[in-house]
């Protein structure tokens, strides 16, 4: 099953009971009482997923490690490498 098929499968699992409630094929006391809520359920779920996504991405962006030590270490090693290579007879072309 591809990822797309998997998503469509889940969407169908949701759509069948949802549509039967909204179109009135299936009626229960509870769903009639909260009919407006049931109707807007997909929008609500999408909204919640959107908030989760934005929050997750922003959180991960702000906690993305900066690595100033790694850059410093590299700069120092570059100088060391140049010295050593020149000593070994290498000629830099810059």
């Amino acid at each position: 099953m591809t990822n797309l098929q998997r998503w469509l499968f889940y969407a169908a699992l949701f759509a069948v009971p949802y549509l039967s409630l909204v179109l009135g094929t299936v009626q229960t006391q509870l769903t009639t009482k909260y009919f407006l809520f049931v109707q807007f359920l997909p929008v609500l779920l999408l909204g919640l997923f959107g908030i989760y996504s934005v929050w997750t991405v922003l959180y991960r962006t702000f906690t993305f490690n900066d690595c100033p030590e790694a850059a410093k270490e590299l700069q120092a090693e570059i100088l060391e490498a140049r010295k050593d290579l020149i000593a070994k007879g290498f000629r830099f072309r810059d």
Binding site: N65, D66, Q75, R93
Partner: protein
């Protein structure tokens, strides 16, 4: 530390890296020598006009033809084919791919090797997104795009790895060959597809947190066309894998 009976072929595709190549090779030699593992560096230069190949030849004279192997090509032909070209000449049973632009530090290679040996993993992938991993030289916007793209690909492709677009990895030789053979995309999304194909084949993937220092020499590339290409490939892989 003694050698472990394996040999590691480090593939270094280059294009206009005359400044970075001597440094990256010096670093590889430094850390591989200290670790004691058997290795070779295979430089695949795609006809760089800046004379990268001449630099590589000079380095070969210093470090020896068994350590530095030159497999140049006459034109820029893409990353996937560069790896295939390199594998053909590799004498190791493991392949390590690393960028030559110094964004990946060779000090992590021994960590890759130790982790691979511990769990007999098929692939060990460097990750900027987990543990002590991270980046240097990225502003807020660049980080946001990177995190957003990563989040989206995790949701849509459910790979077994946290860093899909990274290109610092260790593969078993036959695993790399199989993954490349099943890849259709080119450019930098190719790295993402490699791990998706690995998941399809049922290969095991382990991860080592790495620090990524964005290009010190030269300019980094992330423009509108890269983002469009990424989105297209993401949707393609979503629909087909």
């Amino acid at each position: 530390m003694p050698s472990n009976g394996h040999k590691y072929s480090i593939l270094l595709p280059t294009y206009n890296e005359k400044d970075n190549l001597p440094i990256i090779i010096w670093l590889i030699v430094k850390y591989m020598k200290a670790s004691g593992y058997e290795y070779e560096v295979i430089v695949i230069d795609d006809g760089s006009p800046d004379g990268t190949l001449d630099v590589a030849k000079d380095l070969q004279k210093i470090y020896g033809e068994d350590r530095i192997v030159l497999r140049p090509r006459t034109a820029k032909l893409g990353l996937g084919t560069a790896y295939i070209h390199g594998i053909k000449h590799a004498t190791g049973d493991f392949i390590i791919i690393i960028d030559a632009d110094l964004s990946h530090h060779p000090k992590f290679i021994p960590e890759f090797i130790e982790l691979q040996a511990k769990g007999d993993y098929d692939i060990v992938s460097g990750t900027r997104y987990a543990g002590d991993g991270g980046v240097f030289g990225w502003d807020f916007k660049r980080k946001l795009i990177s995190r957003g793209a990563n989040f989206l690909s995790q949701i849509l492709l459910r790979p077994n790895a946290s860093d899909l677009t990274g290109s610092f990895r260790l593969y078993k030789k036959d695993v790399l060959e199989k993954c490349i053979a099943s890849c259709v995309s080119k450019g930098y999304v190719f790295q993402m597809e490699m791990l998706v194909r690995a998941r399809q084949h049922g290969y095991t993937i382990a991860e080592v947190p790495i620090t990524f220092v964005d290009r010190i020499y030269g300019t980094s590339k992330l423009g509108g066309t890269e983002i469009v290409q990424f989105a297209k490939n993401l949707l393609y892989l979503f629909a087909t894998t």
